[in-house]
Each structure stands twice: as C-alpha cells, then as structure tokens.
Amino acid sequence: MKKVFMWIGISLGVVLVAAFVALSVMAGGPKDALYMVRYALPHMHRGNLKPGDGAPDAKLFALNGTDTFHIRDRAAGKPLVLVFGSFT
C-alpha cells in the first residue's frame, strides 16, 4: 500500500514538472511561466459564445473619455469586425 502511494506521488511530481517545463517553453522561461499562471490564466477564458449566437452588447468609451457608444450601434448594415486588445 505504501508503495502505491509512493508511485502515485512520483507520478504526480513528474506530471507537474512536465507541465511546468511545457508552460515555461510556451511562455518563454520559468519566470514567465510563473507570471503566466499568476496573471494571465485567471483572466483568460474561452467563453460560451459561438457562431450563430446573438452578439452581446456593451457600452464603450470614446477616446475623449466623455462620449460613449454601444457595440450594437456599430453593427448596422454591414458585418462588424471586432478587434479586442491592449497596448502591451
């Protein structure tokens, strides 16, 4: 029984190390892997939207900071390409 637990522990360890190595390669280094887990993964979601679903609406600010508009306002008559992103 003791041996079983030992092997389970070793297997889990190997899996964790392999996952961390894979994440490090993907992120660019071990430090980046840690930052990815801490800062990126909590905010990254696949979401439930799929083609054919109604597009959700949201209010956005214009660059002047005072005017606002809705995504839906921009989707009129033609397809609307939405490009989400940030500067960094």
């Binding site: 905010h43 949201a58 397809p79 390409v81 490009v83 989400f84």
Partner: protein
Amino acid sequence: MQIFNDYKDYADFLTVYVREAHPTDEWQMKSNVKDDVCYAQPRNLSDRLAIANDFTKRFKFPVPFGVDDMNNAANDAYAAWPERLYIIDENGKIAYRGGNGPFKYYPSEVRAWLAARYGEVKHPEAKPEEKKTEEKKVAEKKS
C-alpha cells in the same frame, strides 16, 4: 492593419481596448521594455484612456476605437482578454469567433471570412506588381 485597409468599404471595424496584457506591475515582457511600451495596469478610466490615446497616436491607428469600462463589461461579454477577434453579421449574430490570443489569434481567418464573402481584396500599396518592382530594385542593387 492591412485587413482594415482592404475591407473597410465592405465591413465595419471596431477596436476594443481592454485591460492590459503585460503591464509593468504584472507580467511585463522584455519586448515591451525594448519597444518602450511600459505601463502599469490602469486602476481607473483616466489611466485606461491615457494608454489608449498613446496607442492610437503612436501608431496613427486608423481603425475606429472604443475603450472598455473599468468593470470590463465588453471583455467579459466576449471573453476577449488578452486579444481576440470576432465578426458580427448584419443580423447581430456571431459569424466568426477567433481564439484567445496570442496563441490562437489568427487575423488570416478574418481575412478568409471576408474574402469568402466579398472576394479577395488587396490594398493598392501591396499590389504584386509593385512588390515585384521592389524586388527587382533590390536584385539590381545586389548585382
């Protein structure tokens, strides 16, 4: 943005600025330091607007622009962070849903969707003939 230049007469485009992906106080990238793109994660709307304005001015960004609010409503509705592409059709339905960037961010899929509907469109500056001329010039210089 080449796709915008090519298809702006056929489709509307809207850039939605969402929370920063690699701010100085979170997961900062070396490339951002090199490119002098160093910002802390905005804590209020003015900070967010300031960065968005810096971005559009620095790149003379021509695509219509909107800034998500501090509740991240647009980001949450579209699961958009850190970058993502969608196409909404004329009936208000999702016609294309891209994957989360940077690993599954494929502008070429948006181009393919638009090309399938409107045909291949190429920006005047990217005409193959002009490219060929440029290539010829480079070849001549080399020889």
